[in-house]
């Protein structure tokens, strides 16, 4: 619906201007233009979760139906967080506004809106911090860069802190490591104290809290989805494959983002997992209670992240598994890698992860006891435990999008590349400034991937898409692979808009395609594309960055 109002790509790009206006930025007034913001939380989700101020409202309305003492609530929350998070306190205090972050944000690069410069996004909070919590600010007010917390400032916060995908690219370039993700998380916590949250975050939260996954799929629905996938695999390979659910005593509990078993193109990667686990004879189980790897709680508050994440260890304990394996997902891995053990550990009831196939000890996961599927699979490949025919992916010319969280919140860069080089013959890297730790966000992460926010998503995704276009033009790349469920859900729309002709896929989709399974009969990939044959039939071109 919002789509038809968006300008053509060239026009949109022409309208981007990085020169800010002459007037200073202290005026907080924002206009809520359709296509650039997300709808407000509906009351039911907030009520279910016991979150504050459930009500019917929308951001473009004048009256946000705030509680009477909202200002006091927010400032009190501000003060509490300054005392609980050193990151927040330090990041409020030490920015020198050197501007190194300014043009590192995909939303700034795609919109030219100066308040999307990470430094200014942080200044939106910092100005209130200075006004209310520093001596200079109390005395000098605006001269010291202070601003009073007014309704307009609050609305500005809402607008811009739901225009940050917590991708942490700015923090790579900041000389002090100031991380806007951290600042955005604080701002969103403050906003949620008075019920100013967005529906695309709180409804999945409520779903996940109740049913175990963001999509609200109930246990029998989950089972149906898995069986559906197994049927598909039978049709594609002729093999009868099993996938245990809620099986006590399995060695490994496998948790994937719910989109993997419910949405395209995630689903093809999901088929890849199932095929792989069948082939290596892995003793694992899915869980219906912990049927969500992702954690929208991270986009809401630390407490909500903890409330949802608790299910992983709880279920691992109940099912008496030895360790956990996690699927392809971005922010899920931020939570698992950087928060889970601290929030819900220690996982002393589990064992240090050892691959039952290769015997490899995953030393790096010995406390949290959860292993990334790319670590697991690359280890299999390294030890020659699976038979791969990369020619089966010859119809794909592949590039790899580093998803923000695994890249900058974990350092998972080589594992997926190693897998890719093993399962396909045509892999091309995007330009250096747009991959690895400098990767650009899809523009839709952190809960912003809605239809109503489409224009902003296309703008935010512009730097990523532009880099894809580069390899598309240069190397005829036609598949953009990634290891994040939000990427897989939102990149297709981005590609359609900026780089038509490029599809989006999972790493484990290509693994599944290339995997030579015992007794299989197949001549198509998971999408039904015919395998196009041996490399002799292929145009000769060098692989880059091998």
């Amino acid at each position: 619906m919002a789509k038809d109002k968006i300008a053509k790509p060239e026009e949109l790009a022409d309208g981007i201007n990085y020169t800010p206006p002459k007037k200073d930025w202290f005026d907080p007034k924002v206009e809520f233009v359709r296509g650039r913001y997300n709808y407000a939380s509906t009351p039911s989700g907030l009520e279910y979760l016991g979150l504050p101020n459930p009500r019917k409202w929308q951001p473009d309305q004048e009256d946000w139906k705030l509680p009477k003492d909202w200002q006091k609530i927010v400032l009190k929350g501000f003060k509490e967080r300054l005392a609980k998070f050193r990151s927040f306190k330090i990041f409020m205090d030490i920015c020198v506004r050197c501007g190194a972050c300014a043009d590192k944000c995909h939303f700034f690069l795609g919109s030219g809106d100066p308040k999307n410069m990470p430094v200014l996004r942080a200044e939106l909070l910092r100005s209130v911090y200075r006004n209310d919590f520093t001596a200079f600010g109390r005395v000098l007010g605006k001269l010291a860069g202070g601003r009073e917390l007014t309704v307009d400032v609050l609305k500005e916060w809402f607008y811009y802190f739901y225009q940050c995908t917590e991708c942490r690219r700015c923090s790579v370039f900041c000389p002090y490591g100031i991380d806007t993700a951290e600042i955005t998380m604080m701002a969103r916590e403050l906003l949620s104290l008075i019920g100013c949250t967005i529906d695309w975050i709180t409804t999945p939260l409520a779903n996940c809290y109740r049913t175990g996954n963001h999509l609200g799929i109930q246990p029998h629905g989950f089972k149906d989805s898995i069986e559906f996938a197994l049927d598909d695999l039978y049709d594609l390979t002729g093999l009868k494959i099993e996938a245990p659910i809620n099986k006590k005593g399995a060695e490994i509990l496998f948790i994937v983002p719910s989109a993997d078993y419910f949405a395209n193109p995630h689903y093809f990667g999901f088929l890849g997992y199932l095929a792989l686990f069948h082939e290596i004879g892995l003793d694992y189980t899915f869980s219906t209670y912990a049927s969500e790897g992702g954690n929208f709680g991270l986009f809401h508050s630390h407490d909500m992240a903890k409330r949802l994440n608790a299910k992983m260890y709880a279920e691992a304990k109940r099912l008496k598994v030895k360790w956990l394996l996690g699927g392809e997902c971005g922010h899920m891995w931020r939570v698992v890698h950087q928060y889970m053990d601290t929030m819900n550990g220690p996982a002393d009831f589990l064992e240090e992860p050892i691959s039952p196939i290769t015997g490899t000890k995953f030393e790096n996961a010995k406390s949290t006891k959860m292993v990334h599927i790319c670590e697991f699979t690359s280890d299999l490949i390294y030890h020659n435990k699976i038979k791969l025919d990369p020619n089966r992916n010859n119809h794909w010319r592949v590039t790899f999008h580093d998803s923000c969280n695994p890249a900058r919140g974990m350092g998972l860069l080589e594992e997926p590349r190693y897998i890719l080089r093993s399962v396909c013959n045509n892999f091309y890297e995007m330009p250096e400034d747009t991959i690895r730790e400098k990767t650009f966000c899809c523009g839709s992460g952190a809960g912003l991937g809605t239809d109503e926010n489409l224009e902003m998503r296309l703008r935010g995704g512009f730097p990523r898409a532009n880099a894809v276009k580069y390899v598309h033009d240069k190397h005829d790349v036609n598949l953009l692979t990634c290891i994040c469920a939000i990427d897989k859900a939102t990149l297709p729309a981005l590609m359609d808009y900026w780089v038509p002709g490029v599809e989006v896929g999972a790493i484990h989709e290509l693994v599944g395609n290339a995997l030579v399974m015992e007794g299989e009969k197949r001549d198509t990939d998971f999408r039904g594309n015919r395998f196009i044959g041996p490399p002799e039939a292929q145009p000769k071109e060098g692989k880059e960055n091998v």
Binding site: D93, K104, T342, Y382
Partner: protein
């Protein structure tokens, strides 16, 4: 506006010693009392700020990884950018503190027709920052000679290297020139780049003006109006030895210089200049990327309400049973 107010503040700061010393002759106040007070404020302010930060816990290990994690033994770990342990974290911090590693990555994005986003070099900011900070450090070390009796070999070597080219008399210190150029660059970019101008506050212009005036007054004194440095050292030694004296032979320019320096150190702990201490405490840089290997403890880890499996099964028992899923309780 913020430029105007910063300039105004600087002008006032320069006028104060002109009136106070030049007009009223309050040499003891400006030569002894104010420097002592400013230094006291500096020390106490820094301790206060650092302790204020130290009091706040680091609840999560939120390292920003800028390279390959340590995972499987055959994958090369980028130790400096994703430190696997505290030794490499110290190395990473050193590279940040000593070489401004992260700033070194700086690039400049440009939108070309096509549309095509290209990323050019942004190294100038790094260069300006490095030049300024190291010049400042060398100048600071050089100034120690005014406070130490028999000067140490170390200061002699630093000063000797700094005057390596033996240009002019008194010999030109290279850092004097470099710091003026670097400060001018850092200031000019705030004036000339529209983005920088937009984000700059009075708190950004003021320290630059202040530093520039300090450097200008200092270099003027050394190279142009000149000063009796024996007298300066008598004052310095008196201050450092807590038996302050005010020698006669000190010029007004000298009083302007030390008043501005006093202003700087008094302002320091309460300003963005505290990034000097803050960089050491930045949670995205000063922790190892060993999250899954070593558990990080959150001292205030809250108890939160969770939806337990029992509650879940109670709600979905019927459908689970019908789907043939295993149950904990049949009823």
């Amino acid at each position: 506006m913020s430029i105007f107010y910063s300039l105004l503040a600087i002008t006032v700061l320069i006028l104060i010693p002109i009136v106070g010393v030049g007009g009223l002759g309050w040499r003891y106040l400006f030569g002894v009392i104010i420097p002592y007070a400013a230094f006291g404020l500096f020390i106490i302010g820094i301790i206060y700020r650092i302790l204020l930060w130290a009091k706040v816990p680091v609840p999560f290990k939120i390292t920003t990884t800028c390279g390959q994690q340590k995972s499987l033994p055959w994958i090369k770990n980028s130790k400096l950018e994703a430190p696997p342990n505290s030794f490499w974290t110290a190395m990473r911090m050193s590279s940040e503190v000593l070489f401004f590693r992260s700033l070194f990555r700086n690039s400049k994005a440009q939108l070309k027709p096509g549309p095509k986003l290209v990323y050019g070099s942004g190294i100038l900011l790094w260069l300006g920052a490095i030049c300024f900070h190291y010049s400042f450090l060398v100048i600071l070390i050089r100034h120690f000679r005014f406070f130490i009796g028999p000067t140490s070999k170390f200061i002699e070597i630093v000063s000797g290297l700094d005057s390596f080219f033996q240009i002019g008399l008194p010999i030109l210190y290279i850092t004097d020139l470099v710091i003026l150029i670097a400060l001018t660059y850092l200031l000019l970019r705030r004036f000339l780049s529209p983005q920088l101008k937009y984000i700059s506050l009075a708190a950004d212009y003021f320290p630059l003006f202040l530093l520039l005036c300090i450097a200008l007054s200092g270099t003027t004194m050394r190279y142009f109006t000149r000063i009796d440095i024996v007298a300066v050292k008598e004052l310095g030694m008196g201050l450092a030895g807590f038996h302050p004296v005010i020698p006669d032979n000190l010029s007004l320019m000298f009083f302007i210089h030390i008043f501005l320096v006093s202003s700087l150190i008094a302002y320091f702990p309460f300003s963005k200049l505290m990034h000097m201490g803050g960089i050491f405490l930045s949670p995205t840089r000063n922790m190892a990327n060993d999250n899954r290997k070593r558990r990080h403890i959150n001292p205030w880890n809250p108890k939160v309400e969770v939806h337990t499996y029992e509650e879940y099964e109670d709600e979905f028992r019927e459908v689970m049973k019908n789907a043939g899923l295993p149950l904990e309780k049949e009823e």
